[in-house]
């Protein structure tokens, strides 16, 4: 092939020209949209700015972890409802993982009845819309529950009625809590610093935590919910909105998590199990010490993206009026303050920052695995 000097010289120049055009086009689009927005906002007498975050909100948030008064600001409302979102997300992550593991183990158990049931449940759950499952739980199940006077009694202080699930709330001694933090730190440190191949390092930490949990449960004073007049006092009340969202998200995501876990475990060659058994380890220890640690490597990236899905799915709470970030900030605050652009920008950036953080960590992890030549 003959070389054409002019061609090779113009190439970078052409590339820059293209990119300049792209940037110019994008800038023009943004300017046009901004221009329209400015005209529209001027017409409706809306100003742009984030000062509204300091204005008093004046509405009630029915369920909150931090204290909330009508005179608190929109900024505090953002904090309170973000915490509600995070509460539901973390509860769902725990339950979805547990259910996913259960379904995966049932499918891998070799018992045709258990495997078949798990498969059926998984197919039904993941082939129906998540929103519909949440509505089903909320409207068809929880809202048709009896009134508090005729609550369903589970025993040990657990009651279920149309106002939600009542559970005993523990009042743990501060010294016990301090001990718990120390045990947790010890367990984490032991896990990180354990010598390679040490069985004790893997087992002792969780055992210590379990021991602390049992001790704490026995030493704590439990506040049991009890019927007084027409309603319950004492204990903790999980409102039906949170319950429906929690169960809906957990059940839906567990179907996907179970497939991820199953694929990861099946991906470990059977030779590993055979080798471990022939060394005299029991089946349980083989799973815990040989199979799961290896499966975990392939498990973590897809599992993380499921956890991100859970965090994003909590916005479905807006459909059943759970006071999460979209419901409170994206709807109530937006309607009251009229600051649509600012509210939505804040809302999206909360989710984006969580997401970008996690996907940056995931990409780095992925690169490290790739570098190991797997």
């Amino acid at each position: 092939m003959t070389t054409r000097p002019g061609w090779s010289l113009s190439r970078p120049a052409r590339a820059w020209l293209w990119q300049l055009l792209a940037v110019a086009g994008f800038a023009a689009l943004v300017l046009w949209l901004g221009h329209n927005a400015r005209i529209n906002m001027a017409q409706r007498n809306i100003t742009f700015g984030f000062d509204f975050l300091l204005h008093p909100a004046g509405f009630d948030i029915p369920f909150h972890l931090l204290s909330w008064q009508l005179t608190d600001t929109y900024g505090r409302a953002l904090l309170v409802c973000s915490l509600n979102t995070m509460l539901c997300a973390s509860m769902s992550i725990v339950l979805a993982s547990a259910l996913g593991l259960l379904i995966a183990l049932m499918r891998l158990s070799g018992n045709p009845l258990a495997a078949g049931t798990a498969r059926t449940v998984m197919e039904v759950v993941r082939n129906t819309p998540q929103l519909m499952q949440i509505f089903f739980i909320y409207v068809a199940v929880l809202q048709s529950l009896p009134v508090p006077r005729q609550s369903i009694v589970f025993g040990w202080g657990f009651f279920l009625n149309v106002r939600g699930l009542l559970i005993p709330s523990p009042d743990i001694d501060s010294r016990m809590l301090l001990l718990g933090c120390m045990v947790l730190a010890l367990a984490v440190a032991g896990w990180v610093a354990r010598p390679p191949g040490s069985i004790a390092g893997v087992i002792v930490g969780p055992m210590l935590l379990l021991a602390w949990a049992i001790a704490a449960a026995f030493s704590a004073t439990w506040d049991l919910p009890a019927m007084h007049g027409f309603n319950f006092t004492g204990g903790l009340r999980i409102p039906p909105e949170l319950l429906a969202l929690w169960l809906g998200i957990s059940i839906y995501t567990s179907a996907f998590i179970s497939e991820i876990i199953r694929a990861a475990i099946l991906g470990i060659s059977y030779g590993q199990t055979e080798a471990s058994l022939s060394l005299g380890l029991t089946r349980g220890l083989t799973m815990y010490l040989v199979i799961l640690p290896q499966a975990l490597r392939t498990l973590i990236p897809p599992l993380t993206s499921q956890y991100l899905n859970i965090i994003k799915s909590t916005t479905l709470g807006a459909a059943i009026a759970y006071p999460e970030i979209l419901q409170i900030f994206g709807r109530t605050v937006l309607n009251q303050s009229g600051r649509a652009v600012e509210v939505m920008a804040l809302l999206i950036s909360v989710f984006l920052s969580v997401n970008l953080l996690v996907s940056a960590v995931m990409n780095r992890w992925n690169r490290r695995l790739m570098a190991q030549g797997r």
Binding site: I39, P129, N355
Partner: protein
């Protein structure tokens, strides 16, 4: 019998598992059958006609046309049926035709949208115009899914190439776009799109809610489509590009004529997954004021004649979605096997 004995009762753990499962079946299956079939009422004009402890399928029967077509005028519903049959035939042709698949794909991506719009919107060829505000029910879910998939395919492919580009602006622009959409919850995005779009358009320009929802869904799905296509592009061996370049093809020609067709074959299972997820997620439009199947059901539950029938309504809708999604997933698995074996065949 012996082959079943061991997995069911072979070890203590298996005995416990089997017993638990049998107890679970005993606790759930008979009551459900009792409710759904034995005690169910199939005919009636209101809730009062239904037995108290059985399913009231009369509600679903009375509302069936609404659940499927929404408020689409009755004499015009054949147009929806025809469009649906066309969609099924052309999709089947695209996925399973032994030859000339390119033409089928062209029909799906170009002819079907035009014919579908003419049929559903009307206003030409003597067809009665039907405003999109009257569209609803399952039909709206199907339409939104189709529009978003067809729209996001070219856009997603473009973004996938953009993400692999050596030009930093194009590359980072694509990455930014993809991550922005993938990082945001669909409901928040739909909300933003429906509330804020008018704010960013010139004064007096209004866009109908259905179109707004379609645009938002298309952009949202494009990001996921781009990631699927990118994965597939990376799955095509680099020898293919090198060979095409060695034959004297231009860089763009090599990508579009050699790499992309092979990548799309690899991408099919991923795309089918996107279709299933999207079809389920179209129910979210009910929250922003469109009357898709979910919205129509929520509305019907408030009818004073049929109060308190949430269980029946949602069970029916879930069954519809389940069958549809299962069929699409099974098609996807068949194709995966078909192409999977082709993809694994040694290349020489």
């Amino acid at each position: 019998m012996k082959a079943l004995w061991k997995p069911l009762f072979g070890s203590p753990l298996n005995v416990v598992l089997t017993a638990c499962m049998l107890a679970l079946f005993y606790l759930t299956v008979p009551p459900f059958l009792h409710w759904a079939l034995a005690n169910a009422t199939w005919d009636g004009l209101s809730r009062k006609a239904c037995a108290p402890d059985g399913a009231c399928w009369a509600f679903v029967r009375a509302r069936f046309p609404l659940f499927i077509y929404g408020r689409y005028p009755q004499p015009e519903r054949w147009r929806v049926d025809l469009a649906f049959v066309l969609l099924v035939v052309i999709s089947a042709g695209t996925l399973f035709a032994p030859r000339r698949r390119g033409w089928w794909l062209l029909a799906l991506l170009v002819v079907m949208p035009i014919v579908g719009t003419v049929l559903l919107v009307g206003g030409v060829f003597g067809l009665e115009p039907v405003p999109t505000g009257d569209w609803g029910g399952l039909m709206l879910n199907v339409v939104l899914t189709f529009v978003a998939v067809v729209g996001s395919l070219p856009f997603g492919i473009l973004l996938a190439f953009g993400r692999q580009s050596t030009l930093p602006v194009v590359r980072w622009g694509s990455i930014g776009f993809i991550e922005l959409w993938r990082g945001s919850p669909l409901l928040a995005v739909l909300f933003t799109g429906l509330i804020m779009l008018p704010m960013f358009l010139p004064n007096g320009v209004t866009v109908d809610n259905m179109i707004r929802a379609s645009v938002v869904l298309t952009l949202f799905v494009s990001a996921y489509m781009a990631e699927t296509v990118r994965g597939a592009l990376q799955g095509v061996p680099s020898g293919q590009t090198e060979a095409a370049l060695a034959l004297g093809m231009h860089k763009f020609g090599a990508e579009i004529l050699v790499v992309l067709p092979q990548a799309m074959r690899l991408a099919i299972p991923g795309i089918i997954n996107i279709v299933v997820d999207l079809f389920k997620d179209t129910t979210l439009v009910s929250i922003v004021g469109l009357f898709d199947l979910m919205g129509v059901i929520n509305q019907s539950l408030k009818d004073p004649n049929w109060l308190g029938l949430a269980m029946e309504g949602y069970t029916f809708a879930m069954a519809l979605f389940f069958v549809a999604c299962l069929v699409i997933s099974l098609i996807g698995q068949t194709l995966e096997r078909q192409y999977g074996s082709a993809a694994r065949a040694p290349r020489r």
